[in-house]
């Protein structure tokens, strides 16, 4: 990393001021926040749980602030504060880009106003209390009398009001008394809080860049404390551990705060609080008793200090460059509740197209259409599955996106058709910078439409340097750009220019949308650049990337009627990005450290609400040795987004290029991913409805098990019961897996039964290079498709295998969701959602398939609550012949006497072994039931007579 390219807190004036404020508060014995509510101003809405009030600062009695506190119908508390009638307007639109809709304010919760505070009590058990105290202003959320979240408890709230530079009131106090010494006293009266100097108020230099700061200081500081929570997670994206290490206090792990400022960080560090490509200001606080979270809807650069004053409490301090205070407090109390509360605000992840969960093969760059065909040919020759081929920037003539370089890609549409013929797709990169040349229709139209970002002053179009050389940037904050952008992707010839040299199976990769600008400060855009509405770039920086992602995904949907599910990969993201597609962790290095931290970063993204995440398999930079590459595929097949990618300077490393035994190992790993696609798809259905992440760290699944709170190298895959621990170290032959409960877990490969303990227990599991350690939790039924195919599309009619992993009581259950994988017809009821249940009846085991969709139609699919479900829908009819070809039961206690469906004896094989309901170690007993003759979409029951 070139650390000197990026600011430390000490190099950012507002962060410096924020941390200095915090230091002064720490040192002072009698620190008290200068902000207070004017009791006479409190105005409670008669209809809803909201009130407004005036806030004053004792430092600046003439400056007016307003406070607006609401309780939403799901118990989330929103706290907003803004400067009123100031010199200028603070940026207040961050939430509008993140939220799916204006949240509904509870009509039931009542605010009670007293002389010193406003308070409300609510919740199913009536155990939640929100108290807004007047002087000093604090907001505290209690549960059962215990403080969960405290705003301004340390008095670090500070909203720097707008002021005039030369005649700033700091220097000319109103009603200045004649006595000079009193003037000095008065200035000092503010210095205890604000410091002596105007530190970087009006101009700021970094390297060779100068930020003109025409609006002056406008930063925002707020402390948010969790007095009863010892662990905090979230605020992606940083390359560090899941359980956020401290940045303050004694022995702080990091000296700088966590930074959120979307940036293109070249060769980033594998353990650092530095900002990366995306920002989600969403933080979970967790203890064995409860989980709460906050979402701080701010779009400007934000630094977050994290400290643990004790092992069971957490202090955080959020310092932002501009914008209003707009904090959402999610009361939990379970992780699932928090995910539901957060996704009600910012949306659930979109259900991806089914193929998008398969394997993606990328490289910078496949250099020609023949190269693409050759890569496809070689995958097929090796019978290795792959669904998507990607094109990086070199397809575009002079990096003019959309415009094919005809020297190397003379026949793009034919090439795509050749790929599509095997049921595959292509993803092509489109970046937001436009080469400034009038023979480039996209630039020319953007210029004429007036939708380019402006340089400081707002007069001229900003010019910067990026892949395409001298470039301009589309300002997606300008609504005029929206329909125009969507029109560019139309594949059919119309009146205006559009991308006719593409197909409706061409999908998009949006890179560089932080934005990355090679000659800009911190490789990004000058903060004093001007966007639509006159907002400065500093106000919206972290939101910038999500707009391109959003609009490109809309563009892909508008190509066809009816629309098909879009796929857009983004590098930059913000809260809400999960609605628009996938992300990856950017330009990682081909090292073991980056492989390991990639797992953690993907986990953090999952609990940050954005499950569809992955990191470049193999590492973007460098030439990984075969062992490392194989392990990286082991990581990739258990990542929601699974893509291999490589820098242009690296050697080619497509899986078919490796020598044996590595090549065969990669083939079997790829096939393993494909066999588990039903599990992935079912997990994505769940997140698309509930917001529960696809990858779940231990604390999400076992919120009361302290032993799992800091685990971030093993995780559960959805609700499937699969527990994965990818190997990210060299020379490993076995590993330790933590089992959080008194339950049996089975090795997926060997059927070895491992026993956990109620207080948690580590077990040693084989981890040879040809296997990724992963276990099936007792009590799970895992549906797979085990016929290797060239692409996932070609598995559509393949039969299923059900792995029934009996728990210690001899029971198990699992889910399967299926639809056409490409359109939105699932929202019209065209899908199947099954539940498989294995239960003991007397001594026998009954395995049956029931229709979950019919039982719970309202929570079956994303985006719509169906009132009923028709089991004979078009999709179900289409797959009526798709059967279950095999049922494998682990852990039966004895050999069955018979296995029957509908009174008909089936063919089966039994291998004796350890039973699930004992305490024994060893290989589990395995019953393989051959071809039970049952459909995957119909109700049935298999009777295993013991």
């Amino acid at each position: 990393v070139k650390s000197q390219d990026f600011k430390t807190c000490a190099q950012a004036a507002f962060c410096r001021r924020g941390r200095a404020l915090s230091a002064r508060a720490q040192e002072s014995q009698a620190w008290k926040s200068p902000y207070s509510v004017d009791p006479s101003s409190v105005a409670v809405s008669p209809e809803q749980a909201s009130f407004v009030a005036a806030v004053k600062s004792s430092l600046y009695p003439n400056i007016k602030f307003s406070l607006d506190v609401r309780v939403h119908d799901d118990g989330v508390v929103r706290v907003r504060m803004d400067e009123v009638d100031g010199l200028r307007k603070r940026y207040d639109e961050a939430a509008s880009w993140a939220l799916t809709a204006e949240p509904t304010i509870s009509p039931d919760v009542k605010w009670a106003v007293s002389k010193k505070d406003v308070r409300a009590t609510y919740g199913a058990k009536n155990d939640i209390e929100v108290v807004v105290s007047y002087d000093p202003l604090t907001v505290i959320l209690y549960r059962g009398g215990k403080a969960q979240v405290v705003l301004n408890g340390r008095g670090l709230l500070h909203m720097e009001h707008f002021r005039t530079k030369a005649t700033g009131e700091e220097k000319a106090p109103v009603d200045a008394p004649a006595d000079d010494s009193q003037v000095v006293m008065q200035v000092n009266n503010r210095a205890w809080f604000e410091g002596e100097e105007e530190d970087g108020f009006w101009e700021e230099k970094f390297g060779s860049w100068t930020d003109s700061k025409p609006k002056g200081p406008e930063s925002l500081s707020i402390d948010i404390n969790f007095p009863n929570h010892g662990h905090v997670y979230g605020i992606p994206q940083h390359a560090t551990r899941l359980d956020l290490p401290t940045t303050t206090g004694e022995n702080a792990h990091f000296s700088d705060p966590y930074r959120l400022y979307n940036a293109d960080v070249f060769e980033y560090l594998a353990d650092s609080p530095m900002s990366l490509y995306g920002s989600i200001p969403f933080m979970h606080a967790h203890s064995a008793e409860s989980t709460v979270a906050i979402f701080n809807a701010v779009g400007s650069e934000t630094w977050i200090d994290v400290g643990h004053p004790s092992a069971t409490s957490t202090e955080t301090h959020w310092i932002s460059e501009s914008g209003i205070l707009d904090v959402f407090i999610m009361p939990g109390p379970t992780p699932a509740d928090v995910f539901a509360q957060y996704t009600r605000l910012t949306g659930t992840p979109a259900l991806p197209a089914h193929w998008a969960l398969a394997y993606h093969q990328c490289r910078w760059n496949y250099i020609s259409s023949d190269d693409v065909r050759d890569v496809q040919r070689r995958f097929d020759a090796e019978d290795m599955p792959v669904d998507v081929f990607w094109l990086d920037i070199e397809y575009a003539e002079e990096h003019k996106y959309f415009i094919w370089d005809k020297k190397t890609f003379p026949d793009p549409v034919d090439m795509m058709h050749d790929v599509e013929a095997i049921g595959r797709k292509m993803v092509v990169i489109i970046d937001p910078h436009l080469k400034r040349t009038d023979d480039y229709p996209v630039y020319k139209e953007a210029k004429e439409l007036g939708v380019l970002v402006k340089s400081p002053g707002g007069e001229n179009n900003y010019e910067g340097w990026c892949w395409s050389g001298s470039s301009a940037w589309i300002d997606f904050f300008n609504p005029s750009s929206w329909d125009w952008w969507k029109s560019l992707f139309i594949t059919e010839q119309g009146d205006k220019w559009s991308w006719t040299e593409s197909t409706v199976d061409t999908y998009i990769w949006n890179d560089m949308n932080e934005p990355s600008i090679f000659n800009g400060p911190e490789i990004s855009m000058p903060r004093d650049n001007v966007h639509h509405g006159g907002w400065e770039h500093r106000d919206i920086h972290n939101i910038n990337g999500v707009l391109l992602h959003n609009l490109t995904s809309q563009a892909l949907m508008s190509r066809t009627d009816p629309p098909r599910r879009p796929f857009v990969l983004t590098r930059s993201f913000y809260a809400g990005s999960q609605r628009f597609g996938a992300m990856w962790t950017g330009d990682n290095l081909g090292t073991w450290e980056h492989m390991a931290v990639g797992v953690k970063m993907v986990l953090v993204n999952n609990i940050g609400g954005f499950s569809f995440a992955g990191s470049d398999v193999g590492g973007f930079f460098g030439n990984p040795e075969p062992e490392m590459l194989v392990r990286w595929y082991g990581v990739g097949i258990f990542s929601p987004f699974f893509r291999a990618h490589a820098h242009i300077d690296t050697k080619r490393r497509e899986p078919y290029l490796l020598d044996e035994p590595y090549k065969s190992i990669l083939r079997s790993l790829l096939r393993l991913r494909y066999s588990l696609l039903p599990v992935w798809y079912t997990a994505f259905r769940e997140t698309s409805v509930t917001g529960l992440p696809v990858l779940r760290p231990h604390w999400v699944v076992f919120p009361k098990d302290e032993g799992g709170f800091s685990l971030d190298d093993q995780y559960f895959l959805g609700s499937s019961g699969l527990l994965v621990k990818p190997i990210t170290d060299k020379g490993v032959t076995e590993t330790s897996i933590y089992l959080p409960e008194d339950q049996v877990y089975y090795d997926y490969y060997s059927y070895e039964a491992y026993r956990g303990a109620s207080k948690g227990k580590n077990v040693t599991v084989p981890a040879a290079l040809d296997r990724v350690p992963f276990l099936v939790r007792g009590g799970s039924i895992v549906p797979t498709r085990e016929r290797p195919r060239r692409s996932s599309m070609l598995m559509k009619r393949d039969p299923f295998t059900l792995r029934v992993a009996l728990d210690t009581s001899g029971a198990a259950a699992g889910e399967l969701y299926l639809d056409d994988g490409e359109t939105f017809s699932h929202r019209d009821g065209k899908f199947i959602w099954r539940k498989f249940v294995a239960s003991k009846q007397h001594k026998d085991l009954r395995i049956k398939s029931v229709d979950l969709a019919a039982q719970r139609p309202g929570e079956a699919v994303d985006g719509v609550a169906l009132s009923n479900y028709n089991g004979a829908n078009d999709f179900a009819k289409d797959i009526a012949t798709v059967r279950v070809e095999r049922v494998v039961v682990f852990g039966l206690s004895t050999k069955p006497k018979s296995v029957q469906v509908g009174g008909k004896e089936l063919y089966w094989e039994y291998t004796p072994g350890v039973a699930s309901d004992t305490k024994k170690q060893g290989t589990a007993s395995v019953l393989v039931i051959k071809d039970p003759g049952v459909g995957v979409s119909s109700d049935w029951e298999i009777a295993v007579q013991v």
Binding site: D264, F266, I367, S368, D370, D371, D383, K407, A421, I422, G423, W465, C466, W467, G469, S470, S516, F518, N519, I523, I648, D649, T650, K651, R652, R671, E786, R787, P788, R789, R790, L794, M795, K796, R797, D798, P799, E885, R886, K930, D931
Partner: protein, 525 residues
């Protein structure tokens, strides 16, 4: 589905009913017995996949398509029942009935046509190839006679060298002591030292010149070709620094003013240096330093002695010859020699060294002769080497079919660059906009992949040119030439699948093997 569905003809005997559906049948690898009913029942029972030749149930099996009217083919089971009509299965038997049409007639016809076209190319190509082989035979004869002649010449020259060496040694042994004494002179020693120092300086100077040029080339290439998008401001600074040093305009300005004819080189201001008195200019250094260093210092030493002796007249005794009338000269010389030998005996006078010039002349003649011998030897070695390589599979092929193309240069204009390959020599990349070429490497070997026999046709389908100029941020450039049979020697495509590793496709008649009897026969039909 039939039990024999997907079974290749050779294995049909293994798929005979054992009598009843419940009777047992052995997996082909013998690892397991299963009921006959389990064969082709769309469930994989055999570990080797042999029970499901007609379905996609086994991940590791194969399936046979009869393709009547065309050629039967074996496909992986993973392609059976996947909903796609395999081109290898023109009879459509890989998918459920009704999904795929039987297109074997059309496919067969197209295949025949294509085969015919290929045979035609091969027929023509192999004729040219036979000319190449004939060329190799002629070359063989030529080289053989060249070798014979060279060997004869060498014998003569060796004798001559021996005689001349003897002569030179004799001459030198006579005067060696004298010369040795003169070489003790501090002036001579100092001269030799100066000369050595100068030589060393010149060597270092040349090294630096080369280095500077190489650096300049690298920086020029960086300046012209650098991708400003490596996000590396250090590169930009390097470019700007070089431009300042070399007096070039900034490349981005040049790029902006496309079409401006301003000569970049002309912008550079040549700074005039002022030379001290007698100091050499760079041009003079360039031109004259070499010849200065080639001076024969021994000769100089002798000349110097003469020069010193001249004004003083030297010793009267030794210079009397000048004054003695010719008629007395013979007697005088006889006397003088006697006297000098006496004097020498008594240590009074030193020997006369008039004959040292003769010594170096003799040595020179000997050395020239030896050089001529070496050069003849070199020619011989070269010819022998060529002869050896002529039928060496690792060089020109076991029939010498590639010899004809030795040194043939082929080029391909790929837009920005023209690529040139001189076969068995060097491959180059030349910018079409002008500027210096990059070496992509020199011929090193044919396809040496494991399992490829030297001399086999596959061996000659790949040629490697390696160790070209080094890439910025990458390896040394190299080329793999992928060759197939064609009637012409021509480069078809150029690609750079990895940084600085080029793939160039080429056709050559040298790879067109003659049709064998059955193939030729097919043609006649």
């Amino acid at each position: 589905i039939e039990k024999t569905s997907g079974v290749p003809p050779s294995l049909l005997p293994r798929y005979r009913s054992p009598g009843s559906n419940s009777a047992s049948w052995s997996c082909l690898d013998g690892s397991k017995s299963i009921p006959w009913s389990a064969v082709n029942d769309d469930y994989c029972d055999c570990p080797d996949g042999s029970d499901e030749p007609g379905t996609g149930a086994c991940p590791n099996g194969t399936s046979y398509c009869r393709n009547e009217g065309h050629i039967g083919s074996l496909i992986p089971s993973t392609r059976v029942g996947d909903g796609l009509c395999e081109p290898e299965c023109c009879d459509g038997s890989d998918e459920r009935p009704g999904l795929c049409l039987n297109v074997c007639k059309e496919v067969g016809e197209a295949y025949q046509k294509q085969q015919e076209a290929e045979r035609k190319v091969r027929r023509t190509g192999s004729k040219i190839r036979s000319l190449y082989i004939a060329h190799a035979q002629k070359e063989k004869k030529r080289l053989e006679s060249q070798i014979a002649a060279a060997e004869a010449e060498i014998t003569v020259r060796e004798k001559e060298v021996a005689r001349l060496k003897d002569l030179a040694d004799t001459t030198e042994s006579l005067s060696e002591a004298a010369i040795q004494h003169k070489k003790e002179s501090p002036l001579y020693k100092s001269l030799i030292e100066h000369s050595l120092a100068l030589k060393s300086l010149q060597r270092e100077y040349k090294k630096h010149l080369e280095r500077e040029k190489a650096l300049g080339d690298i920086l020029d290439a960086l300046r012209l070709g650098y991708n400003p998008n490596y996000q590396d401001m250090a590169v930009l600074e390097a470019v700007r620094g070089w431009e300042a040093l070399a007096g070039l305009p900034h490349i981005n300005d040049v790029r902006k003013e496309e079409g401006s004819t301003e000569d970049e080189g002309a912008v550079a201001e040549q700074q005039e240096e002022t030379l001290g008195e007698g100091e050499w200019s760079a041009a003079k250094l360039d031109k004259e330093l070499d010849s200065l260093l080639k001076s024969d210092y021994e000769t100089l030493l002798i000349e110097h002695d003469k020069h010193l002796g001249a004004p003083a007249g030297g010793s009267l005794l030794f210079n009397l010859t000048a004054y003695i009338p010719d008629v007395f000269l013979p007697q005088y010389l006889a006397f003088r020699n006697t006297l000098v030998s006496w004097l020498e005996t008594f240590g009074i006078a030193k020997g006369i060294n008039d004959d040292s010039a003769d010594t170096s002349a003799a040595r020179k003649t000997y050395q020239d002769a030896e050089k001529a011998l070496q050069s003849a030897q070199k020619d011989l070695d070269k010819a022998q080497n060529e002869l050896e390589r002529l039928y060496e599979p690792e060089w020109y092929g076991s029939e010498g079919e590639w010899k004809k193309l030795d040194g043939t240069c082929l080029s391909k204009d790929a837009g920005e660059y023209t690529y040139e390959i001189c076969l068995f020599g060097e491959a180059k990349q030349k910018p079409n906009k002008g500027g210096s070429f990059q070496s992509l490497g020199k011929f090193t070997h044919w396809n040496n992949a494991p399992g490829v026999e030297p001399g086999s046709p596959e061996y000659y389908t790949k040629q490697y040119y390696e160790r070209g100029s080094k890439c910025w941020n990458g390896p040394m450039r190299s080329v793999t030439v992928l060759t197939s049979c064609g009637t012409e020697n021509v480069l078809l495509t150029v690609a750079e699948p990895e940084k600085c590793e080029y793939h160039i496709t080429m056709t050559s008649p040298a790879l067109c093997l003659p049709l064998d009897d059955s193939e030729a026969h097919r043609d006649e039909l």
